[in-house]
């Protein structure tokens, strides 16, 4: 017998969960608020650590969900629990009955303007990691005009009590080094600096990427957080940081500064999340049952979570969670 499973969010987590649930004989239904599936990863150029084209992965995922019932440009406007499971009302006024709900709503990018000292939105040549990735994908960005010196700032909106984000955003370190290599590929004569506090190369092949960054691409990693950015008379950026390994403050002029923005919880789902009775954790992400065996469950029966809605996650993490949530939902349906 076919059972409806409502998946809110059509990014990597939502698509992969749908794929697996369909193979298990259940009926996943994806509700996606934007006009395309794939989420953030569909806007990405290449993936760390091996510079694999993101489009490859996204296309495979899209192909797998082509028979899954999908609503685009649609949001869940109301959801209620009943004796059969859940009744959801969509923004197109349709109603969906589902036995279980998977929240796969992912993350938002930290708004770099909030760290005013970095001058994003004030100085022309300060850009975000997302905008740089967009440059790699499209080749268009007026700010990148044969730069000679480029800097990357790690932990923008992460590990920072001043913006209420004390957590590590997990993927930005590796992304910074990946993008540093890529900008050297485009501009081999440019000098590239990254300003880090710790380089968290936690995954397979990530340390190799770090070595490659140093050895093959001559990227200079400076330990220290950039504390302020200003503009000189020529419109170039002057940054200050401490070289903490050298024990001296340091001043440098750059053509482009890239801010590695952290992941924050996607707040557009807050109303529905509240109606479902799912709380937030201390980092502001969704609270799962526990971080070990209950990582896909919530305090509410029949409500599941997968992907970056519970914490910052890499793509492999997210795919793994999406597969595990499918198993959890399958077991839940069978136990009914």
């Amino acid at each position: 017998m076919k059972e409806n499973i409502l998946i809110i969010g059509g990014g990597a987590a939502g698509m992969e969960a749908a794929t697996q649930l369909q193979k298990m004989g259940l009926t996943p239904i994806i509700v996606e608020k934007s006009e395309h599936l794939g989420g953030h990863i569909a806007q990405w150029d290449r993936l760390f650590p091996a510079f694999h084209p993101a489009k490859d992965v996204v296309d495979q995922m899209l192909n797998q969900v082509k028979d899954v019932k999908t609503y685009l440009n649609t949001e869940v406007t109301d959801i209620q629990r009943n004796s059969d499971g859940f009744k959801a009302i969509l923004s197109n006024n349709e109603t969906i009955d589902a036995k279980a709900v998977i929240l796969a709503t992912g993350f938002d990018i930290f708004k770099a303007e909030r760290k005013q000292e970095y001058g994003y939105g004030i100085y022309n040549n300060v850009m975000t990691s997302v905008e740089l990735e967009n440059f790699f994908r499209t080749g268009n960005d007026a700010r990148i005009n044969n730069p000679k010196k480029i800097g990357f700032v790690h932990c923008v909106g992460a590990r920072d009590v001043k913006v209420c984000n004390t957590y590590c955003s997990k993927v930005c370190c590796t992304t910074a080094l990946k993008q540093a290599c890529e900008i050297k590929e485009v501009f081999p004569d440019a000098e590239v600096y990254t300003f880090y506090m710790d380089l968290r190369m936690f995954g397979p092949g990530y340390e190799d990427l770090y070595l490659k960054t140093q050895k093959d691409f001559d990227v200079k990693c400076v330990r220290g957080r950039v504390c302020e950015v200003s503009e000189d008379m020529d419109g170039k950026l002057v940054i200050k940081a401490e070289d903490t390994l050298f024990g001296k403050p340091l001043k440098m002029t750059l053509d482009v500064l890239v801010l590695m923005c952290s992941m924050e919880k996607n707040k557009s789902i807050d109303v529905i999340q509240q109606k479902l009775g799912v709380a937030n954790n201390s980092d502001g992400f969704m609270q799962n049952k526990d971080m070990y065996l209950g990582m896909n469950g919530t305090a509410q029966d029949g409500v599941f979570v997968a992907g970056a809605c519970t914490a910052p996650k890499s793509l492999p993490d997210t795919i793994g969670e999406a597969r595990s949530v499918a198993t959890q939902v399958f077991n839940y349906i069978n136990s009914k």
């Binding site: 070595l211 050298f246 001296k248 403050p249 001043k251």
Partner: protein, 103 residues
């Protein structure tokens, strides 16, 4: 007239005007110089470092921050025992680099 005041020079490392000639020259023959992860193993094991300020990790940084003279002065403490090369997790041939700097 001396009023007892003076100007303190800026302690900032001015990266825009740092002369990297020596470092870049060194890099040509020793490309592994770039791969230091500043773990400090070389300094911790250094025979001379136990009694003096000798630190290869700092020497590398000095060369990249325009303090070449200080670096060369520090190198004089080295006894070329090579323990630093043995412990380096990145496999940097430190002993050879130290010799090359003084050449």
């Amino acid at each position: 007239m001396d009023f007892g005041f003076c100007l303190s020079p800026s302690s900032h490392v001015k990266m825009d005007s740092v002369d990297l000639t020596t470092f870049n020259h060194l890099k040509e023959t020793n490309p592994d110089i770039n791969t230091c992860i500043a773990c400090g193993s070389c300094t911790a094991t250094c025979t001379a470092g136990n009694f003096t300020e000798m630190s290869f990790r700092r020497i590398l940084l000095m060369l990249q921050r325009g303090k070449e003279e200080e670096a060369k002065k520090m190198i004089q403490r080295c006894m070329l025992c090579g323990k630093c090369t043995l412990v380096c997790p990145r496999g940097i041939n430190i002993r050879k680099i130290l010799l090359d700097i003084t050449r």
